[in-house]
Symmetry: C2
Subunit: 198 residues, 2 copies
């Protein structure tokens, strides 16, 4: 049996990247080989190193190279507030707003029964353990406002309320700069129901 | 100075892939870390291995792991015919047609003066040396029928004719299944000029 050529192996490995088909995997391989050898070597080292070094934070489930991540060990943060997000990217978005000084739990996904994604896949028991540490007072559900994100928020909210925790959800409403004429009616209806005194 | 995190290094390495921006590099990194650790390790090995093993064939300039590639050492092929292509992908396309039993030279690019791509970047001296080995009789220009491909074919044709070689170009014309109504006028004009007796 012939040993598979390094080039084929490279193209197949690139095809495993999300959104990369056979044609673009081949194009990427040729580009790296012909025009960016440094990039090829760098990608090799980066992948091997990330695989060896990166795992989940014991507390918040985000990616980290330590046992507990930098955010979780930061004593300036408010341990009474726990914000639940779907992904590390969502966490970064919230950090950028500089409006939240509590801690996080990253689900690394969302409930999606049709895709076979159940509570264990979003690390429910780890979350419950984290939220019931005796310090957390309020859990803020910051999953996406999609069908799956809403269903996930509902499920987690019920579960955590049963543990005696205060549970809140990010507010819905008209986005900043939103013109009513162009906002969908569901959003306006929700903004009407949730109207606040000024 | 703080050591850069493995995750950032991975995202930056993925960004060097053609067509991959910051958002999709981050998405790829998270996908590999969360859902495809085997793929992450495989990509690491594949890149490092390809960088170490793959270089250019001494004769045809295609990628190979040997000094001379499998095509060039195949004694069943006709050494009198040398087909010049822009990329390894073009070579594969021609091989798939099973209509050519000669040998190849892969330019690994095309002339593009505006982008600073000159004759040395398409390995002109290696090509001339290859084409004037005393065995090659006819050189077939199979660069793309784009402006840059045509200019490259013209330049190489003049250079190789000056060496006393027969130079041909792939025929242009109406593509198989082409309906005249939908073929561009330039193609029809060329097909008319190049009409053949049946
Ligand atoms: Zn953490
Ligand atoms: Zn070769």
């Amino acid at each position: 049996m012939k040993k598979q050529a390094s080039l084929e192996v490279l193209v197949e490995a690139l095809r495993r990247l999300p959104g990369v088909g056979p044609k673009s995997a081949q194009r990427m391989a040729y580009h790296l080989l012909q025009h960016d050898r440094d990039g090829l070597a760098a990608l090799g080292h980066a992948c091997s190193n990330a695989d060896a070094q990166i795992h989940h934070c014991e507390l918040c489930n985000n990616f980290t190279e330590s046992t507990v991540c930098e955010t979780c060990v930061n004593s300036d943060r408010d341990g009474e507030l726990l914000c639940i997000v779907e992904t590390p990217a969502d966490l970064l978005m919230i950090e950028q707003t500089m409006t939240f000084k509590g801690l996080y739990f990253v689900l690394m996904g969302r409930l999606s029964p049709l895709d076979g994604v159940g509570p264990q896949d979003i690390h429910l028991s780890k979350l419950v353990q984290r939220a019931t540490n005796g310090v957390v007072r309020e859990v803020i559900l910051a999953t996406n406002f999609t069908n799956e994100g809403e269903a996930t928020a509902h499920y987690l909210g019920e579960t955590l309320k049963a543990q005696g925790l205060a549970v809140t959800r990010l507010a819905r409403g008209v986005p900043l700069g939103g013109e009513l004429e162009y906002v969908d009616p569901g959003t306006i209806a929700r903004a009407m129901l949730d109207r606040r005194s000024t």
